[in-house]
Each structure stands twice: as structure tokens, then as C-alpha cells.
Symmetry: C2
Subunit: 188 residues, 2 copies
């Protein structure tokens, strides 16, 4: 066994994502993680310090991916909402940890920076959709709550099964209920 793995840090993060997707963040075990990566049980500590450190790194990665996804979604606020949902579903592991601050070091500067960048994209979209003013803030929170709630409920399996298998398709009409269908705000 080579002493120098090559890219153990990334391998551990990838394995962590896999394990969290299988059985949730609570069940994540650093030792099992090391086992999957083929290293000793203490190897992860070198790269991340402790479990919180690992999850902190995962969260930073998550906020970066989210910011990127929102940016790529472009100007349309509805599409940004659906991109948020797509991110949550496609990166369930990241998403589930990101909004559970007791699991990681939420006050770490890298986390604050990455999350600030992501929410800035969101804010910008809200202002573009509603126009400036006090309403923009509320509209942003409403839209964020809607897609975040839908994503959470979808992931937890709480939504009735007749909404179908594709969360984005199922969410589209729901997202359009907020702000009406263009007739009630959303100048585009």
C-alpha cells in the first residue's frame, strides 16, 4: 500500500458524499470512510482534523456548487428556483449537511464566504424579478422558502407519490404559483 495516496483528500470527500447519500449524515463514520478509501482509520484526521472539519469542507464544496448552479441558471427567476431544486436533488449529501449548522463549523471563514457568494446570486435574481424595494427581500425569501421546502420534502420522501418521479417537472407548476404566471409580477 502506497504511503502517498495521491489525492486522498478528494477521495475521502467523494466517499463521504457516497456514504451520506446512502444513509444520511448522522450515520457517517470516519473509520468506515477510511476503510472505503483503503487507508488507515486515522488518515482522515490528517486532512480534516476531525469529523466537523470533514463536513465543513463538504459544505464549502456544496455552497460553491450551488452558487455555480444558480449562476448558470441565468436571469429567469423561476429557472433559478428550479436550479436550486435540481442542486438539492443531484447533490443530496451536500444539501443535507449545508442546512444543519450543528454538524460543521458554520462560522469558518471559507463557509461564510462561499455561502455569502451563493446567496448574493439569489438576492440579485430576486431584485431582478420583482424590481427594487422592500418587496424584493420578501419575494426572495418566499421563493427561497418555496423551493427549499419542496426540495426538503421531496428528499425526505414526504410528498405524495402521485407527484411523479421527476422533482423538477413536479415543481414547475408549483413554482409558477408564486408570483402568478407572469401576470402578477415577474416582468421577465
Amino acid at each position: 500500500m502506497a504511503y502517498h495516496h495521491g489525492d486522498l483528500r478528494r477521495a475521502l470527500l467523494d466517499a463521504a458524499v457516497e456514504m451520506i447519500e446512502e444513509s444520511g449524515p448522522a450515520a457517517l463514520s470516519l473509520r468506515e470512510l477510511a476503510r472505503r478509501a483503503g487507508v488507515s482509520h486515522a488518515a482522515p484526521a490528517h486532512h480534516f482534523g476531525d469529523k466537523q472539519g470533514l463536513l465543513t469542507a463538504l459544505v464549502v464544496q456544496g455552497f460553491e456548487l450551488l452558487g455555480q448552479a444558480l449562476t448558470e441558471a441565468g436571469e429567469d427567476f423561476h429557472e433559478a428556483g428550479l436550479a436550486y431544486l435540481r442542486f438539492a436533488v443531484d447533490h443530496r449529501a451536500h444539501f443535507e449537511v449545508m442546512f444543519r449548522p450543528e454538524l460543521y463549523r458554520a462560522e469558518a471563514p471559507e463557509v461564510l464566504a462561499a455561502s455569502a457568494r451563493a446567496s448574493e446570486v439569489l438576492d440579485h435574481g430576486a431584485r431582478a424579478a420583482v424590481g427594487a424595494g422592500q418587496d424584493a427581500e420578501m419575494a426572495g425569501i418566499a421563493a427561497w422558502s418555496l423551493v427549499h421546502g419542496f426540495a426538503s420534502l421531496w428528499i425526505s420522501g414526504a410528498l405524495p407519490s402521485r407527484v411523479g418521479e421527476d422533482p423538477v417537472a413536479a415543481a414547475r407548476p408549483v413554482v409558477h404559483m408564486l408570483f402568478g404566471r407572469g401576470e402578477n409580477g415577474v416582468p421577465r
Copy 2:
């Protein structure tokens, strides 16, 4: 030390709620729980089998409380939404476990019964607000997503601090954004 506690089951559930509110469901320890209740480390197992059993009991209690809160909120759909939020904030521990099915036995009959009863109340409210038809289902999901998302974001501390300290007051205008302010649905 009395061998018969009297109402150990309830005492354990109460202590569990307290501990989860302090540091989340992941950090819950059955042994610390037993310590707080003043019993031996194996006493909880007798009442709940294992950790999942304890959380299952907690979730059943949670869905019962939620159904009750929604029922008491009455006919107004907006008020039901705010009652949902109030439940989430006032019973953070229950709420946090209820929507994390990997932590408990979601398929247990008591859980299914309690959750079915709660969502029936929600469904009834949605139909009353929007009228019958296919839209009622979507309206229900939209409203549920909105308040669930707001509650989750509030609890996780993700919302900007300028929304204030009272979640229900902060959410009221947000909830009213969906369905407009009575002019766009919500016949009452």
C-alpha cells in the same frame, strides 16, 4: 433509587426533546439520556427497544401535536400555514426528526397513522381554500413547501437576521404572497 420510576417513558421522551433542542438529533445519546433521567444506561432499551424506537415514539408524538395544531388553526388556510410554522419553531426537536426518516422507523403503523391524520387536515384546508380540482393538490403542495421551507431555513439560522426575532410575524407577509392577498384565489 426506586426501581420503578413511575413514568420513565414520558420522562425519557421529555429529556430527549430537551437534548435534541440543545444539540440536534445526531448528538442524542441514550446513555446521557438515561443519566439525565437518573436511571441505568440500559433502562431506555426496555421502553423503546433501541434508538430508532425512541425516535419513532418521538415522531408519533410530533405528528399528533402537528395534527392538533393544524386542527385548532381552523379554516383559514393562511392561519394553518402559520400554525405549521409555529409548531416547527415551538417543537423544534420533533420537527427536526419527523422529516428525517432514516433516523426512525417511518414505516411503523403508528407513524403512518399519525402522519396520515396530519396531512389529511392539510389536504382538507387546501381544498377549502382553492376549491376542488387538480389545482387544490398543487396549491396544497405549494403552501406546504412554502411554510416548511421557511420553517427549515429559520431553524437552521439561514435567513438573514433582519427578518426579526419572531418567525410567525416575519412569515405572515411571505405566506400572503402565495395566492395573492385574497384577490387571486383564496375565496375564503
